[in-house]
């Protein structure tokens, strides 16, 4: 009797494990089933290089959204990486344990704050700040700059946690050898520990990029959601970041509830593009980590 239960249980457990495959399969099936017709109808190249998104007129180019996603991710990484890596080095190498016990939970909590709350904070605090700070005609405050700032905070926990693990994983002997040769702790960090942890740190940044590309609600709330190609507002090219934009994720979320026909298919195709981007990004992070452990 016990044996029979034992064997039966094994199948139940196995089936539960298979559910994950089933979910991935369904996600692929349903996004592709709806997305592929759009690719066929509009053409992959037309869709990816078209800068005009006018669903009513059947013009469904998503290049502006691709540009929006990439630019805001770039902004978030440029702002977030120095802070996150500094935090990671601080936690792994410098912080006294009492300080670490305050900073680490703080970083964890930053990861737990809902994205709508970040979005709300961005709308109420950052957007007016950006609007008042830069007096450029057409600057509404909503746009890439505000969105990059919000997103920089949102990727901070991801990068900090993974980079800290990578730095901690460097064998103690490396540090001891360097210190014994007379290097200061900082010299040891910059010329021994960090190079040794390099692939893990890069993986952390790449995963941060993946996180940034996937963020939806906070982006909708602060980026302005303009369907136009992001462009500099003034003669200074940096005013590009004051431009409103729209992300791939935002495009899907804002329009899917009322879209029909080819428009709906194009939104699923946007999802497919996003999915492929994220898989490439996460896959390269995985490859990097596996190469290191191999």
């Amino acid at each position: 009797m016990r044996r029979i239960i034992d064997r039966g249980v094994r199948y139940v457990l196995f089936l539960s494990a298979l559910v994950s495959i089933f979910v991935v399969f369904l996600i692929l099936l349903f996004t592709l089933r709806e997305g592929l017709p759009a690719f066929q109808e509009i053409g992959v190249v037309n869709m990816l290089t078209g800068t005009v998104w006018r669903p009513q007129q059947g013009e469904l180019g998503i290049l502006s959204m691709v540009a929006g996603s990439i630019l805001v991710t770039f902004g978030a990484i440029a702002l977030g990486v120095p802070l996150s890596l500094g935090g990671a080095i601080f936690l792994a190498e410098v912080a006294p344990s009492q300080v670490r016990e305050v900073v680490r939970p703080a970083v964890e909590l930053l990861a737990g704050i809902p994205s709508v709350v970040y979005g709300l904070f961005g709308m109420v605090v950052l957007v007016p700040m950006v609007r008042n700070l830069f007096s450029v005609p057409g600057n509404t405050g909503f746009g890439l700059a505000s969105a990059s700032m919000v997103l920089a905070v949102m990727v901070l926990p991801t990068i900090t946690n993974i980079a800290e693990d990578a730095i901690r994983a460097v064998p103690k002997e490396y540090r001891e050898g360097s210190l014994a040769l007379g290097a200061t702790r900082w010299q040891t960090i910059i010329s021994v520990t960090l190079p040794a942890a390099r692939s893990g740190i890069i993986a952390a940044i790449i995963l941060g990029v993946g996180r940034a590309l996937g963020e939806t609600m906070a982006m909708i709330m602060v980026i302005g959601n303009s369907i136009r190609m992001p462009r500099p507002l003034g003669s200074n090219p940096l005013t590009l970041f004051l431009s409103q934009a729209r992300t791939l994720t935002g495009n899907v979320a804002v329009e899917i509830k009322y879209a029909t026909g080819l428009h709906e298919d194009a939104l699923f195709a946007t999802g497919v593009v996003l999915f492929v981007l994220i898989m490439l990004v996460n896959g390269s992070a995985r490859a990097l980590v596996q190469r290191r452990s191999a």
Partner: protein, 332 residues
């Protein structure tokens, strides 16, 4: 990708060249060169560590700024009435209404997502830790499936939530799928898919942390594999498994994108927890609608404050549980 590796290298290079510049800038007499060299290096270290302290404390400062601002602003509108009154809905009524039904909807949503994903996730984790190693390394279909399962869990953990939303919309909401329309049912099953990898990963970690000797002791006493797993391994792993589930509760409470495209957003809550065909609006969705559509920022802050406090309580709970876990495994 190459762009970002360049960025990270750039930082190192910049700091190194800064180091060189500083070296050049500070003149050292040949007599005391060694000594000034040491002072210089220590100065640079002080500078660098100062910056590291700043970036470490920046995380705390940002947290305090965001949480502090939302909670202080939110406290102006949150009172018992706000918590127990239904939202007014619509565009006109930004000065009336509370958030009661959104709390109810959130609770229903959490109940169903965990009810679906909890058992599935824990059972899958048990298989992956306790049973999969028997077949791994062998040839045949099952070992291949096991490695595909591991890959699938990793993929699910990395998929952005709006993709889950799209899938839920196509499969459950849309008339071209199952046609459940925007409803508690559509939202719950999609939400369950979202948190499934969270539960699997946390449970896997907890189960594999149980010492081998526990299992050996039980098997030696004549218990079957399942009896051992059920009566010995799972109780020992319980705090870690619970941590994963509580983490998922937090994820469902704070998730917005998925429920934006599956739950509907009506201010009326489903009548009961079993009213799976009715739409609703979770607390996080309420913040979104208040900010983006009603433009009632004070109420949005109030709801956001309640949301943040809920998340802080959930994090505290996780800390307590995982402390117990470490104490338990360390103690024996």
């Amino acid at each position: 990708m190459s762009e970002h590796s360049v960025t990270s290298k750039g930082i190192t290079r910049e700091s190194v060249s800064l180091l060189h510049l500083l070296k050049l800038a500070i003149p050292g007499g040949e007599m005391s060169q060694q000594k000034t060299n040491l002072t210089r290096r220590q100065l640079i270290q002080k500078l660098a560590f100062g910056l590291l302290w700043l970036s470490g404390l920046a995380a705390v400062a940002i947290l305090l700024a965001v949480v502090g601002y939302v909670v202080v602003q939110g406290a102006k509108v949150v009172d018992l009435e706000f918590l127990t009154t239904a939202p007014a809905g619509g565009l006109a009524a930004s000065d009336v209404g509370g958030m009661s039904t959104t709390v109810v909807s959130t609770v229903y949503l959490v109940f169903w997502t965990i009810f679906i994903a909890g058992p599935l996730g824990v059972l899958a984790a048990i298989y992956l830790v306790e049973y999969a190693e028997e077949v791994e390394g062998q040839s045949g279909l099952i070992p291949i499936l096991v490695s595909v399962v591991r890959f699938a869990v990793e993929v699910l953990a990395g998929v952005p939530s709006i993709i889950f939303g799209l899938f839920g919309y196509a499969l459950f909401v849309s008339a071209k799928g199952l046609g459940w329309s925007f409803s508690l049912g559509s939202a719950a099953v999609t939400g369950a898919a979202l948190v499934l990898p969270v539960i699997i990963r946390a449970s896997e970690e907890a189960i594999s942390a149980v010492p081998r000797s526990y299992r050996e002791g039980s098997l030696a006493l004549g218990a079957t594999k399942w009896q051992t797993t059920w009566k010995v391994v799972l109780p020992a792993a319980a705090p870690g498994v619970i941590t994963g589930i509580v983490l998922s509760v937090g994820r469902v409470v704070s998730e917005t994108a998925v429920f934006f495209v599956t739950f509907g957003g009506t201010v009326r809550a489903p009548d009961t927890v079993f009213d799976l065909s009715s739409p609703g609006r979770s607390m996080a969705l309420h913040v979104y609608y208040l900010a983006m559509e009603t433009r009632a920022f004070d109420k949005a802050m109030g709801t956001g404050a309640v949301l943040i406090i809920t998340i802080i309580l959930i994090n505290l709970l996780i800390n307590v549980v995982s402390r117990r876990l470490t104490a338990r495994l360390g103690g024996r």
